[in-house]
């Protein structure tokens, strides 16, 4: 047994020893030997004599190095001989076999005993990778870019194997001791950067979380070793940390962010019980470390700054107080710390708005507590803390309380912009990307915040008009207070804004662009029928306020009339909105006031402005609509103001443009007569009949009664109602108060008159022009008469009225349902000879009256019935209008007073023999009138006295009724004014 054991031992001894010899000899080239065999020997030594591992591994270094060299050379040969085909050079068989042998053995070590072997092997493989990368850097490289390098080396069997081994080591240690591996990674990276970067990138992306966390903690530990900032800056390890994190940042930004945040947060937790000195030191150094990292890498800076507001809320800032002194000591002075922070803030590409906000919050914090001296001091310190924390700042320097870091930052930006330096574009870019946040700041009730935001927008706007416009638009749309609007004015008029920049300058300035966008968007939204729920009324009101400010001439910055110019530039859309959209009343009032202030068209002050036709049209339509809105307005004062505005505007518009006049008149008349607005003027509206009855045609009803329609009088249904539905409902009267109707009517007439006035600054400024009023009468004919024919001035034989009876009845009905027509007729009648053009209307009315009176027959006794009253009333009105228009000269004009005393036969006779006949024989035309020296048209009653043939009937009837109409008879036939 013993001898056996000894023998066994001896053989082992022999094997191990001879292996060792073979290996040493082979490696030192004393004996020529097959590399594969040598590798196998080496591996067996590695297994049996761990003490020799260094030597074995260093031999493997040369193996891998050789393989890599072969690979690189092969690549170079391929490149030099042919166009790149992307082929990978084949590996020599030996290399292949050797490497796979080594790979499998090392991997088995790592998997079997990770804790022991992984640190050793990973350190070795990383070091080797570093050496290889450096050694062959610049060879066989198409480009030095990270990706190309990665591609190149990952195609190499040797390096790929090494990377594989490394990642395997790391993955084995992922839950226990990664520190060692990562440390090796860092050290190697320090030594071989930048050629080693591809390894870091690859490993890092395999284990982003671990690598990031570890790299950070290694970096922090290293950083703690440095006593001062300058020393820290030059640490190569730190640079390597930054490099690695920089690589990873592209794809693992959020991981890095989380790791940084974790580091930051853990540094805030001071646990005196558990922390030993080293940890406490590390915690103190954490924030300077983070600051320094950000200073070295813009990517990290961005990562840190993203969402900083949540990272470092104000409460955290208060915590930071404890660290301030340490930081100042570390950086040498508080100024140095400030400078660093300011420069960091200026560089940051993300989250700038949050930083600014945080700074401002700190200022505010101080403001609040400034009464309490002690408190103030603390807050000041805190504010400085903030700064410390990754670029938050608001450091208040002790000496000058009011200058904050924010101030510094803004000054810096200001300076760089004024000098056209490009260096601070980081923060500006960031702010540009976060413009929405800035916008929110603009509306902040705290003045400091809103003004800072305005300043920022000015800075951005200096080079970027699009954003300026966007911001101005936002502010304009959302402004709720005068302060907001003042900011807007300030932004638009700041000296930093290049107001002459094309194409904005030619288009009326930036505000014009703002309005352009707003108006167009508004119109688009309308087009989509989006029942815009947003409240735009404030926006329109803002516009009004701005305009008022400008017109008040008290605001220096508005002297250039930017608001007016901008509005003029956008009048087409503005008036289109005014004209087309269903604005609420409040907004309409605002619009009207704006337009009134705008004074379109403008002739004075050298700013003469003549609006394009489209504007005139939109504007006219809009203002006419507005008039009717005013009629419905309940508030007396607003209504009157609205009326006045309307009148003023229409005066100007109609004088400016004939088109406007025609349009305005047409719209006014049409809407007043036929739209739903007609009730405002006393129109009778039919009660909405239930839908089901709408379909019941008279013809069908008749068919129901009998299968054939016997066209005999008594069996046919007249439209007196529908059998089964009761009597036809009488027309219901609108409940609008008579006062209101009268009032509305008065203002309508006034408005129409305003449209008809002569041009301003002329003597006819206040005079209704004849031509214009004729237009009104023509319009009336057009609207009232349903025919296009027989609308001429002459009155035909009375018989002919049987032909036009239908039309006449239509006109008559219109008059009875729309009392406004009488007022209009009166208006026309007053301005002679315009009524002549309404001849057809009067003719129709007269014709119907004759028919009605003759069918009235003996019913004249029932003089108190409604129908009699209304018939008499109508008759009087017709004659009155004719008299007013001097179509009926005296004594015929007196009929209106006498007629109520006659019975229906007499009335018919008078209408037929006196009025109709007279009118038939005296065509009512302007030719009947003469023009006096004032331009007034006049028909002299003494000259135009009708021949007796037309008055005899009247006289006889009056004589017959002399007991009742005696006083009138004298007036009409006896006391006749004589032509002197």
């Amino acid at each position: 047994m013993v001898s056996q054991q000894t023998r066994f031992r001896n053989t082992t001894q022999q094997d191990v020893l001879s292996d060792l010899k073979v290996f040493v000899d082979g490696v030192t080239k004393q004996v020529k030997c097959n590399p594969l065999d040598l590798t196998k020997t080496a591996l067996s030594i590695l297994k049996s004599l761990p003490a020799a591992r260094d030597a074995v591994l260093s031999y493997f270094c040369s193996v891998f190095d050789k393989a890599s060299e072969n690979y690189v050379c092969a690549i170079e040969v391929i490149f030099s001989t042919e166009v790149s085909t992307g082929t990978i050079p084949p590996l020599s068989e030996y290399d292949e076999a050797i490497i796979s042998e080594i790979h499998s053995v090392l991997c088995s070590f790592v998997t079997e005993n990770a804790e022991a072997w992984a640190p050793i092997i990973s350190t070795w493989s990383l070091e080797l990778l570093g050496e290889i990368s450096t050694k062959y850097a610049g060879r066989a490289h198409i480009s030095t870019g990270l990706n190309e390098t990665l591609q190149l080396w990952m195609n190499c069997r040797a390096t790929r194997t090494l990377i594989d081994i490394t990642t395997q080591c790391l993955s084995c240690l992922i839950h226990s001791d990664t520190e060692a591996c990562i440390n090796a990674l860092l050290d190697t990276s320090v030594k071989h950067s930048p050629n080693f970067d591809w390894v870091v990138a690859h490993v890092g992306s395999c284990f982003p979380n671990t690598v990031i966390t570890r790299v950070l903690s290694c970096g922090l530990k290293d950083f703690c070793q440095n006593k001062s900032y300058e020393q820290g800056c030059n640490s190569p390890k730190l640079k390597s940390v930054v490099g690695i994190l920089g690589h990873l940042a592209s794809s693992h930004c959020s991981d890095i962010g989380t790791a940084l945040l974790h580091l930051f947060n853990s540094s805030l937790i001071v646990d005196t019980a558990q922390d030993n000195d080293a940890i406490r030191l590390q915690k103190k150094a954490t924030i300077p470390f983070l600051l320094h990292l950000s200073n070295l890498s813009s990517t990290l800076l961005s990562t840190i700054c993203t969402n900083i507001y949540h990272t470092i809320p104000l409460e955290v800032i208060l915590q930071l107080y404890n660290f301030i002194d340490d930081w100042c000591k570390y950086f040498g002075s508080s100024e140095a710390l400030e400078d660093l922070l300011v420069s960091l803030i200026l560089k940051c590409e993300k989250g700038a708005s949050q930083i600014i906000n945080l700074l401002l919050d700190c200022i505010f914090l101080e403001d609040v507590s400034s009464t309490d001296e002690v408190q103030n001091q603390i807050i000041k310190m805190n504010a400085r803390d903030v700064l410390g924390t990754k670029s938050k700042h608001n450091i208040e320097i002790e000496m000058c309380i009011n200058s904050s870091i924010a101030e510094f930052v803004l000054q810096e930006i200001d300076f760089s912009i004024r000098n056209n330096l490009s260096e601070h574009h980081g923060i500006l870019n960031s702010l540009m990307n976060e413009i929405d946040d800035i916008h929110v700041m603009l509306l902040n009730p705290k003045t400091v915040k809103s003004q800072t935001a305005a300043k920022i927008i000015i800075f951005i706007g200096h080079n970027n008009p699009a954003i300026l416009i966007k911001s101005a638009k936002f502010l304009f749309q959302n402004a709720r207070t005068d302060h907001h609007l003042a900011l807007l004015v300030r932004i638009l008029s700041d000296e930093l804004i290049d107001k002459a920049l094309q194409p904005y300058h030619n288009k009326g300035g930036y505000f014009a662009a703002v309005l352009d966008q707003i108006f167009n968007e508004y119109l688009q939204e309308l087009a989509v029928l989006n029942d815009n729920e947003d409240d735009f009324s404030q926006m329109w009101y803002n516009l009004l306020i701005l305009l008022r400010w400008e017109k008040s001439n008290k605001v220096q910055m508005l002297r250039s009339q930017i608001i007016t110019r901008a509005l003029q530039q956008n009048l087409i859309t503005f008036t289109a909105i005014f004209a087309k959209s269903q604005l609420d009343n409040k907004t309409l009032h605002t619009f009207t006031e704006i337009l009134e202030i705008l004074n379109i068209p403008t002739y004075n002050n050298g700013h003469s402005y003549s609006p394009p036709l489209q504007v005139v049209i939109n504007f006219t339509i809009g203002i006419v609509n507005y008039f009717f809105v005013c009629c419905e307005e309940r508030d007396e004062i607003i209504r009157l103001k609205g009326y006045n505005c309307t009148v003023e505007i229409l005066k100007r518009l109609c004088a400016h443009s004939n088109i406007a006049r025609i349009l305005a008149l047409r719209e006014l008349v049409e809407i007043a007569l036929f739209s739903n607005c007609n009730v405002l003027f006393g129109a009778h509206i039919k009660r909405q009949t239930p839908h089901e009855y709408n379909d019941k045609l008279l013809l069908k009803q008749n068919k129901k009664l009998s299968k054939t329609i016997p066209l005999t009088k008594h069996s046919s249904v007249y439209n007196g109602g529908i059998i089964g539905a009761g009597k036809r409902k009488s027309i219901s009267f609108h409940s609008l108060a008579v006062d209101n109707i009268a009032n509305n009517t008065t203002h309508l007439i006034r408005t129409i008159k305003a449209c008809c006035l002569g041009p301003p600054d002329s003597e006819k400024e206040t005079e209704v022009l004849q031509d214009n009023i004729i237009q009104v009468s023509l319009l009336l004919v057009q609207y009232i008469s349903p025919d296009v024919m027989y609308n001429g001035l002459p009155w035909p034989e009375e018989e002919f009225s049987k032909v036009t009876i239908e039309r006449d009845l239509f006109i008559r009905r219109l008059f009875s349902s729309t009392p406004l027509l009488w007022e209009l007729m009166s208006l026309v009648a007053v301005h002679r000879p315009a009524l002549c053009y309404c001849s057809v209307i009067i003719r129709a009315l007269t014709a119907t009256l004759m028919h009605q009176w003759s069918s009235m027959g003996d019913q004249s006794k029932s003089m108190n019935t409604d129908s009699y009253k209304s018939l008499m009333e109508t008759t009087v009105k017709v004659i009155e209008v004719m008299s007013l228009g001097q179509l009926l000269p005296p004594p015929l004009s007196g009929i209106r007073d006498a007629i109520s005393y006659f019975n229906s036969f007499e009335i018919v006779a008078i209408l037929r023999d006196c009025i109709w006949s007279y009118m038939r024989d005296h065509i009512p035309s302007p030719a009947l009138f003469t023009t006096d020296s004032n331009g007034l048209h006049w028909r002299d009653p003494t000259i135009a006295r009708p021949p007796e043939i037309y008055t005899n009937t009247l006289r006889i009837i009056m004589q017959r009724n002399i007991k009742t109409v005696g006083h009138l008879y004298a007036q009409m036939f006896i006391n006749i004014p004589k032509d002197e």
Partner: protein
Amino acid sequence: MSVQETKITLRKIEFPACAKEALSRISQLICRRGPSLSQMDLALDLMAEFVFCEIDKRGNKLSPLNPIKELQLLDVLFEYFNGNIKEVFKNTVFLSLFSGTTATLRSRILSKLISIAIGVPSKSVLISASALMQQVGDSSMNYNKLAEAIVKDYFVLIPNATQRLSGLPDCAPQFVANFLTAVGEIYYNDKKGDVQFPPRSLLETVVLWVTANSKLCIAAQQNPSALPSGTIVMESTTSIAGLFKWCILAPIYKQDCELYAKLHLGLLNNILDIPQGYQPKAINHVHLAVPIRYIYKYAASLVRKKDEAEKNRYLLEDANLQLSLDRYAQAVQVALSVNCVYGNVGELLNQVSQLPQNKLWSIVIAANQPNK
């Protein structure tokens, strides 16, 4: 041959060969009765320049050898110490190579040399190494480092150590004895911070060694190394107290591996095999008293914040503590019974009487009262 001539001659030879040559010159210089001071100096110079290549010919420091060259050097050293030289000479050269002012510098090579010797294994190298360890002393840093390096090589990095090293005590019992003393010191020791525990494979191997060789623990004392004349021979410390410490402390550190029980038994058997009649020298009372401090600490943590009256009950009911105390009492009783404890035994008993209450201990203390 003058000093310069020797060096010039050697400088003409290339590296591994020059080390070999230098070694033979060194042994010629120092392996004689009473070498002169100048000879010693020359020997040291030769070592630094030609063996370890620490300095160049002008005396400037060089960077350490690369691993391959290091291996070549190890090969040379190995060959030399396995050569046909008297043991006392080998030990002399070995001691002068690896002790003294340059010991720290060369400890890496030393540990590799020993590691390889274990792996091969090479009795003659290990014997020299054990002489060195004994002379340097078991508490020195180098000594601990050496032990740690060996543990790492064979019990951490290599999976099947127990089987491979089972025969080592037969080959070099003195070395194994010294190695055990060293590892006994390294583990269950809170001097460097946290207490560390031996790797399982080491524990297995130790159990195997101790149970299979009942005289192993005192092997170093039984076989004193052959040292050069004039050397003050250092008495080696046995591993008994150190390994007992493992067994005693294992329960209270919750290391409930059954191997500790086996080890405990093996150690007890070892003590019983200590030949009697001589002056007791196997165990120092100071070493034996080391566990007391740890037990106190544990007991204190156990009853912290507990009611005074309840304290005793907690201590008595804690199985780990009682197992620990039982083992301790057994070890002390057996050691006292074979009379192998030297130093102030009374002091030891006095200290242990302050330990938490334990039945076995009260018997042991009562049985060994000096006045009895």
